[in-house]
Amino acid sequence: MVQYVQARLDASFAALSDATRRGVLEQLGRSDASITDLAEKFDMTLTGMRKHVGVLEQAGLVTTEKIGRVRTCTLGARRLEEETAWLERYRQLWDSRFDELDKVVEELKRKEKIDGRKKRE
């Protein structure tokens, strides 16, 4: 899970290292847009824009959906990543509980040792 988060951060920062891609995110923050719209807006070829959107999609910053012949781009994470994030949050809940349980277990162990010693005396 740690590797997963690391990989995702790397992908996110790599995606953000390009001025056009940052512009695309800003644009999508205002409203959804098709690849064609974005290509026009940024004065680029469709192939070039497709590549940029692909990088943003890989980083989980943009979702695309093809309806008919138009591919629409939306700001946001992919479903698969949401699912993984969900499990990670669940793990964090149990992890923080179990950290507290560790303390209780340690205390009971100490108590047992002391009680055992008293019995032997």
Binding site: G29, A77, Q92, L108
Partner: protein
Amino acid sequence: MDARRESEPTPMKNLTTVERKSERELVVTRTFNGSARIVFEAWTKPELFKRWWAPKSTGVSLLSCEMDVRTGGKYRLVFGHGASKPMEFFGKYIEVIPHSRLVWTNEESDDGAVTTLTFEEKGGKTLLVLHELYPSKEALDAAGTGAAEVLGETFAQLDELLVTLGESLGRS
């Protein structure tokens, strides 16, 4: 008190794993540095259970905890969360094998899981395996969303941060 004991190194933190085994099943595991008897006790004595079930980071507190740990016995947990209405969780124990196995139902909603908890002792340590079987995929999804609400949307916040960062860099 024994001064020597205080200088003992703190044992390394054990890892908690969570895995979705199927659409309806979730498995949580963790090893504890203590006997199965001790870990079982911490799960089944209300005064001990209260001390760890609702850690501060969750923002909820366990207001009351009743447990009749025997086959057919019932339990009831009441949580407080700020000023909102207390939440109740209850059900009954289907199977109780001291220091080894606990199975209980979660009956506060129709979407409640059946939870099986096993304690496996090996070399003074105990592997705890918590298995939840939900009535449907949707019920498990909803339970996950609940945990997300409790802990805050860390990843959503990260996404927002990255987007904001992107916007401000884009302007310059």
